[in-house]
């Protein structure tokens, strides 16, 4: 399954690395360098384009530096320019306001990541630690949900959201992902089961109830996997395109991914507004890069396997 593990085992660093120069080693590093270039150069190229003018891009397409260094691409993407300026600089007159979409994306992703992980953690605790009849049956049912690809539920969920009159609202975009995913429940249950029972027993002896244990003992102890899962859920929600495309029609509920696609579709007569489009692309991508940078070490070392047994 889409996988993250709870263990943060760092690889054994005590490997005696003999630094000898062999042809193979040099070649291997060369390949690694090439991979890093292919990974990172497109980001630089987007930045360089966003800081250029459209006229400059047409005149000098191969210049490795920004042509006529300018911030007008960003101004256009954020809707800070007048209509005349937009047209004069090769933009489309559509008046997209990326501030608004940025805010919408933040609201939707925060709602989804916050609620989904919290509700999933509650259910996971009930499956891992509470004694109740039918527990294993219900858990089995949830697990079976892993078999259904999200994409299959999109059309019927759209019909449902329409019946609930939530089309074109931020809540309508967030609602289907708000309560749980089978994966989150499964993943957190695995982790809760591995918390030593002695810790909870000690709290029980101190007279704490199970609710208190969940909030004061279990959640803090599981903070690493919970944070990792939340960040990954946040990124997934932020990057989602298909579902918001179905649900949102106007500015009030438009998120960044959908706005970007619309920006791309509004090609002015003179050709694509590459400067504005790449600026908008950066606005959409940058928050996730920053978010990732804050948690990179934790996330990178916890991507791995949760085999389903």
């Amino acid at each position: 399954m889409a996988a993250v593990t709870a263990t943060t085992t760092t690889p054994p660093a005590v490997r005696p690395v003999r630094r000898r120069f062999s042809l193979g080693r040099v070649a291997a590093w060369a390949v690694m360098g090439l991979i890093v270039l292919i990974t990172l150069l497109p980001f630089y190229w987007i930045l360089r384009t966003a800081l250029s003018t459209n006229a400059g891009l047409r005149a000098d397409p191969t210049n490795p530096l920004p042509v006529d260094l300018t911030g007008t691409g960003f101004e256009r993407a954020l809707g800070l320019q007048s209509a005349e300026e937009v047209v004069a600089q090769g933009g489309a007159g559509g008046g997209l306001r990326f501030w608004r979409y940025l805010l919408n994306s933040v609201i939707v992703s925060t709602l989804i990541a916050g609620c989904q992980i919290f509700f999933s953690a509650m259910a996971a605790y009930a499956f891992a630690r509470l004694n109740w009849r039918g527990r294993d049956t219900v858990f089995g049912l949830f697990l079976a949900g892993l078999m259904v690809p999200t994409i299959f539920t999109l059309l019927p969920n759209f019909v449902l959201i329409k019946q609930l009159h939530l089309v074109d609202t931020l809540l309508g975009i967030a609602l289907p992902s708000l309560f749980m995913t089978p994966f989150a429940v499964f993943f957190l249950r695995q982790f809760f089961m591995n918390i030593p029972r002695e810790v909870e027993e000690a709290a029980l002896l101190d007279g704490a109830g199970k609710v208190k244990i969940f909030f004061r003992v279990v959640l803090p102890m599981a903070s690493t996997p919970i944070i990792t899962l939340s960040v990954l859920t946040y990124i997934t929600a932020w990057n989602d395109y298909f579902w918001p495309l179905m649900v949102s029609y106007s500015d009030s509920s438009r998120v960044l991914t959908v706005a970007l696609a619309i920006f791309r579709a509004q090609t002015p007569a003179a050709g694509v507004d590459w400067s504005g489009l790449t600026a908008a692309t950066l606005i959409a991508a940058l928050p996730m890069l920053v978010l990732f940078a804050c948690f990179a070490r934790r996330i990178v070392s916890s991507i791995g396997f949760t085999g389903i047994k």
């Binding site: 490997r15 193979g24 080693r25 291997a28 690694m32 292919i38 990974t39 990172l40 190229w45 384009t49 047409r58 397409p61 191969t62 999933s120 259910a123 605790y125 009930a126 499956f127 630690r129 509470l130 004694n131 109740w132 690809p149 994409i151 059309l155 019927p156 019909v159 449902l160 289907p176 992902s177 708000l178 749980m180 089961m193 030593p196 027993e201 029980l204 002896l205 199970k210 969940f214 990124i235 990057n239 989602d240 395109y241 298909f242 991914t257 970007l260 696609a261 791309r264 050709g271 590459w274 790449t278 959409a284 990179a296 990178v300 991507i303 791995g304 396997f305 949760t306 085999g307 389903i308």
Partner: protein
Amino acid sequence: MTVASSSPPSRLLRAKARPGGDGALAAVFVAPAMLGFLVFLLWPTLRGVYLSFTRFNLLTPAEWVGLDNYVRMVNDPIFWDSLKVTVEYVVINIGIQTVSALAIAVLLQRLTQSAVLRGIVLTPYLMSNVVAGLVWLWILDTQLGIGNEIISAVGLDRVPFLADETWAIPTIALINVWRHVGYTALLLFAGLQAIPNGMYEAAKVDGASEWRMFWRITMPLLRPVLAVVLIMTVIGSFQVFDTIAVTTAGGPANATNVLQYYIYGSAFGRFQFGYASAMSVALLVVLSAITVLQYRLTRAGQTDLG
């Protein structure tokens, strides 16, 4: 998750449990997730299957038409064509992605354990498919894209990567390799971490080359993990939509009209929700077959790992 709790089932927690268990509390804890599961997962799944047997345009109530949609599907050349395009995409995408990811994972394991490099490799995965699509749409632009500038500087003809019937699918497959290969590589890397380092040390003492160690140690021990990753990525690959929506919109001449794009067009372009649902069921059947395969392979893998 290696550190399983080794303490025996606790008597204390059992003794503290009320006779009826924690039923009431559990109900409260499970309720939100249960609501989400029933309303947004189970119900839509059943409803999706039901809708595939109806004619439904969203405005008037669904009308039962039996197998009509399925009969139409089987006789619809565009459906078969889009299935073909989808499979072509999956084969190219998964083939290149798996080999590249394996190479990156092995390099990360044998060359350096650097967490910084792992972070760098993962960055494209943080972008949305839409962003990745737009980035490469610009780089590969026929007139102004740096990719084509380089090609023409070398003296070759410019390639209309995303506007050409032959090039479009391989190009989109490669764009998605760029976005996903790092994540796949890190999954494989995690699998590689489970191989005891001593095995490589011992092989080295015996004078084995890296190449030989890869085939004799890495591949056999990684096989089960590789199988799972492969099935997982294949399922994801079958659902390709975003990249195509922003780069080619299914064109040129239906050359990139993948199944999910055709389904979307049927539902939201032509308001044939019944027909779209029938095609979704077909896709679900394909994906389920792959999932069953996954469980088989996983189980085979478990005995393999010992």
